[in-house]
């Protein structure tokens, strides 16, 4: 079987899903089911004590899905570590999608604080999946401190713009010894397929699934994109050429050669 292995744990699906922005819990669950994903991210926020809502967690089948709490909202390493510890206190497995995004406009990850937090959390026994800029050197540094994956961005979160960082992603994929999960900015199944064709081990998608009239149908489409890209990668893509190379024989034409 062509399974994805993260920190010794095996997954059949190479599509991870974020649970934000869905119009309802029902839409979220239908997207999860249609995608056949096994890992879903969740966030931690203050309860609105003047208007408490039931936890979305009760809609998620914990036997079927691994919950991956993120540290979204953290602006530095300290805040990220605090959020990760809170998630673990809730009884989650000690897996965390580390996210440190001090810049509110592009939500780009802070490489220095991300590395700092990764090191602390690995020492505390967390399985750390860091969201990171598509920087091959940083990917190596995160690997060195014990990150279980690297999660370079394709484009800023929620932008649906695809693999704007393609050349750097290729270097990260070439050099990585841990799974590479392309996260953020994937807006179409073709983007996911492209990442997988390049040799990414998995992708994480949220906005493109949630912010569409039919999340379940879009999730199924993304699952096919991921699968197609993976199979193409394993099969081996043909070489690109500058000049045409005929697919049909260049002899026996119905004309007299002069």
């Amino acid at each position: 079987m062509d399974n994805l292995i993260i920190a010794g744990r095996s997954f059949r699906s190479r599509l991870m899903i974020g649970t934000g922005k869905f119009s309802s819990n029902q839409a979220m669950v239908s997207a999860m089911e249609a995608s056949a994903c096994e890992i879903v991210t969740v966030a931690l926020r203050r309860v609105d004590i003047s208007n408490p809502q039931d936890s979305m967690l009760q809609h998620i089948d914990h036997q079927k899905y691994l919950l991956l709490p993120n540290t979204s909202g953290a602006r530095d390493a300290e805040e990220a570590v605090r959020l990760a510890r809170l998630a673990r206190a809730a009884g989650c497995e000690p897996w965390v999608k580390l996210e440190v995004t001090p810049d509110p406009y592009y939500l780009l990850p802070d490489p220095i604080e991300t590395l700092k937090a990764a090191e602390i959390l690995v020492k505390e026994g967390f399985t750390v999946l860091p969201y990171m800029p598509a920087d091959p050197v940083l990917a190596k540094r995160l690997e060195d401190v014990g990150a279980a994956t690297v999660m370079p961005l394709g484009a800023p979160i929620g932008t649906n713009r695809g693999l704007r960082t393609r050349d750097h992603l290729a270097i990260i994929i070439e050099q990585a010894r841990v799974p590479v999960v392309v996260d953020a900015g994937l807006g179409a199944p073709s983007h996911a397929a492209e990442a997988m064709e390049m040799g990414a081990d998995a992708v994480l998608v949220n906005t493109a699934l949630a912010d569409t009239p039919n999340p379940a149908a879009m999730s199924a489409a993304f699952a096919k994109g991921v699968q197609a890209g993976r199979e193409a990668f394993l099969a081996g893509l043909g070489r690109q050429r500058q000049l045409a190379e005929a697919s049909s024989p260049l002899t026996g034409f119905l004309r007299n050669e002069s």
């Binding site: 931690l44 203050r46 979305m56």
Partner: protein
């Protein structure tokens, strides 16, 4: 007495415990995570943890996120 919950002032009766506070707020103790003065509380301790004037609490839960 006055506490600070999620950044806002909040009144509770003297000598309240965490589980009484949650009842007052109509919150399910299994669905929230609580930090008391920056220390994470284990759920098993909710019934035994007494609140004091000026305590700072964070009451947190999981929400959708990417």
């Amino acid at each position: 007495m006055e506490l600070k919950i999620n950044g806002k002032p909040f009144q509770v009766e003297e000598n309240s415990h965490i589980d009484q506070l949650l009842k007052q707020l109509e919150l399910n103790p299994h669905q929230v995570i609580i930090e008391l003065n920056r220390n994470i509380l284990k759920k098993e301790t909710f019934a035994d943890t007494r609140l004091s004037q000026g305590d700072t609490l964070e009451i947190i839960q999981f929400v959708g996120g990417g």
